[in-house]
């Protein structure tokens, strides 16, 4: 996978702290998101990945710290500034979050009708193109309930990509999907990133897909209440000294048959 040529910061997270009453989720987390990169966030359950994502898309206010986009702190931005920011980002929620009362076409048309001056014909063509991009051509009149889990994810990506956002956020990319669908989704991510240059922030647990799609990995930890590692996936695998990071990256599939389970007969 090609590296983004120059490192230009798109989003800058500075000293972020989030707590719910006495429960400190993470403290003093800082990192940058570079233009054109795929940044993967990993970490055990409950370490605050979804919380971090929610703060970065302006759905939740942090206890302290900043998220800077083009110089404005979106955690304290006015409603107008936040809306402007949201036109520049796309979000895929864990379940797809497609509106169940609308067809796939209407789901994707929604942001286009709201934020652009395109006529109905052009919107229709844009929708077909987006569905083609995620390999769902022909499904425009289906309802979300008529799609499988993987198809819902892809339709969700098509909706998130409707306005050609600068940054795409994806929570639990391959959770609940079979390995083949997960690989297809990885390919879609790579294709979109390479063809359109979209910056992506992704939460996933699939080690294989991390090696495949990530330019950079960021690891959070519940006990440490923050970031414990940051770097390229293979570098982390080879050089990490922290036992938690090592154990995450050295998870391996059984290679020889001795390690597989057999029926005792």
């Amino acid at each position: 996978m090609t590296e983004p040529s120059e490192k230009k910061t798109v989003l800058s997270v500075k000293n972020l702290t989030q707590r719910f009453d006495d429960n400190i989720v993470f403290e003093d987390v800082s990192f940058d998101v570079y233009q054109g990169e795929v940044l993967v966030i990993v970490g055990g359950s409950g370490c605050g990945k979804s919380t971090l994502l929610k703060i970065m898309i302006g759905l939740q206010k942090p206890y302290a710290g900043q998220v800077l986009y083009q110089g404005t702190d979106i955690t304290r931005a006015s409603d107008e500034a936040l809306n402007e920011y949201r036109k520049n980002i796309g979000v895929l929620f864990q379940s797809g979050a497609l509106f169940s009362s609308m067809s796939i076409k209407e789901n994707i048309a929604l942001p286009l009708q709201e934020y652009t001056d395109l006529d109905a014909d052009t919107i229709d063509r844009v929708i077909r193109m987006k569905l083609g991009m995620v390999n769902l051509a022909g499904y425009e009149n289906h309802n979300p309930s008529e799609l499988s889990g993987g198809m819902k994810k892809r339709a969700g990506i098509a909706r998130a990509m409707a306005l050609d956002p600068r940054v795409l956020f994806l929570d639990e990319l391959s959770a609940g999907l079979d390995p083949i669908t997960a690989v297809e989704l990885d390919d879609l991510i790579i294709k979109t990133n390479e063809a359109l240059g979209t910056t992506m922030v992704i939460v996933t647990h699939e080690l294989e897909s991390i090696y495949k799609i990530a330019h950079r990995v960021l690891m959070l930890d519940k006990e440490a209440r923050g970031m414990i590692a940051e770097g390229r996936p293979l570098e982390l695998k080879e050089n990490a000294t922290d036992p938690r990071v090592r154990s995450f990256f050295l998870r391996q599939l059984p290679e020889n048959q001795d390690e597989q389970r057999f029926y005792a007969d």
Binding site: L112, D117, L118, V126, M129, G138, D164, G197
Partner: protein
């Protein structure tokens, strides 16, 4: 296109045209995307239309930003040109621009949807479908009542399987929490009825019959009906929404796979609670109605407290009270049953929950009125041929 994603740039663009005998050169400069798509396509179309141009070249060398929608528009121009036998050529595409063009597959733009778009039906078809669905609804409801009765029978024969805590919870929700509104509405109805009948009766000097009318109407009809309608609005809808949401979250499926009968697990406690609680609420409604009338009686009618009460008690017959409570229990069974049944009918999505919740209330009110008429006729004959006569 040195920086393809120029975040700091503005969305300015420039299109210049250069005509050279047989060919037209269109030079693009700046940013092309969703924001200015309508504007630049119009500009280019105007320049191109009307002339027969054998060769058209669109030069991308000075494009700073391009998004997929803009690329799609250029693909469309290319196709249109081809249909006019114009030789169209997109020149000097940068690496990034090529990438963007690569995601556009011309064949998906014209592919027929797998499913036709949903369009509204004609009037005749709508009437037909509505009648069919009323029929289906009725069958569904009867089937559900069957399931419910068998679940109830099972619960009666296996009392240990009843989730008593659930029953208490719904007794509180449907009963205790609903008490204030039932009392308030009951009292207001008694008050209004007393006042309106006073306006008529005073012409004949028949004020003494106002308490008779109020207590007779409250106990025989208004008390049970009004309580039932309130419970349908408060609890019938809540039952439908609760079960419907569980249905959407696959919780009902989970129950079933764990070997529970969803009707017994979810509907029986609600129905039992309603049947226990609605007759009690009805008593409260009756009493507060009579007390509401009493306020008018004492303040406006010049009746004493004692006369009003004794006149009311003279009217009230045990038979009427008992049948009124039975009626209330039947209403309660119907309201809660239809609420649960509509909840189970939810298939997918938030919209379904809303639809069936509404339908639960409407159907419940319809059933209340229908059964009330049946009761009226039935009670007339029962009274005529029975010892109560």
């Amino acid at each position: 296109m040195t920086t393809p994603r120029n975040i700091d740039g503005q969305d300015g663009y420039q299109v210049s045209f250069q005509k050279e005998n047989e060919s037209l050169l269109i030079s693009l400069k700046g940013e092309f995307g969703l924001k200015n798509l309508t504007a630049f396509t119009r500009e280019i179309r105007q320049a191109v239309s009307g002339h027969a141009i054998p060769t058209l070249t669109i030069d991308f060398s000075q494009v700073k930003y391009l998004d997929s929608a803009a690329a799609l528009a250029f693909v469309q121009m290319e196709q249109e040109a081809a249909s006019r036998k114009t030789n169209c050529h997109l020149a000097n595409l940068s690496e990034e621009a090529r990438g963007i063009f690569s995601v556009i597959h011309p064949d998906v733009l014209t592919r027929r949807p797998f499913k036709p778009e949903h369009t509204g039906e004609g009037v005749v078809q709508q009437i037909g479908q509505a009648s069919l669905s009323i029929g289906r609804d009725f069958v569904n409801f009867i089937t559900f009542i069957g399931d419910l009765l068998s679940a109830l029978a099972y619960t009666v024969t296996h009392p240990a399987t009843l989730r008593g805590k659930d029953v208490l919870f719904y007794v509180q929700r449907a009963g205790v929490d609903g008490l204030p509104i039932v009392i308030l509405i009951g009292a207001l109805m008694g008050l209004i009825m007393a006042f309106m009948s006073y306006l008529q009766f005073k012409q004949f000097g028949a004020n003494i019959y106002v308490p008779t009318l109020v207590s007779f109407a409250m106990i025989k009809e208004l008390g049970p009906i009004m309580t039932a309608i309130l419970v349908a609005g408060r609890s019938g809808s809540a039952f439908a929404a609760e079960i419907g949401t569980m249905q959407v979250n696959e919780e009902v499926d989970a129950l079933e796979t764990m070997g529970f009968d969803p009707v017994r697990f979810l509907a029986v406690p609600k129905v039992l609670a309603a049947v226990i609680v609605v007759p009690i609420l009805t008593v409260y409604a009756d009493v507060s109605g009579i007390l509401g009338g009493l306020i008018i009686g004492v303040t406006t009618l010049d009746l004493t407290f004692k006369t009003y009460i004794s006149q009311s008690i003279k009217t009230i017959q045990v038979f009427d009270v008992v049948t009124s409570l039975i009626k209330a229990a039947v209403f309660a069974g119907l309201i809660s049953a239809i609420g649960c049944q509509r909840g189970f009918q939810v298939r997918a999505g938030a919209q379904d929950v809303g639809k069936f919740t509404t339908s639960a209330v409407v159907a419940a009110i319809f059933l209340i009125v229908l059964t009330d008429s049946i009761f009226a006729v039935m009670l007339y004959y029962v009274k005529r041929y029975s010892v109560f006569a």
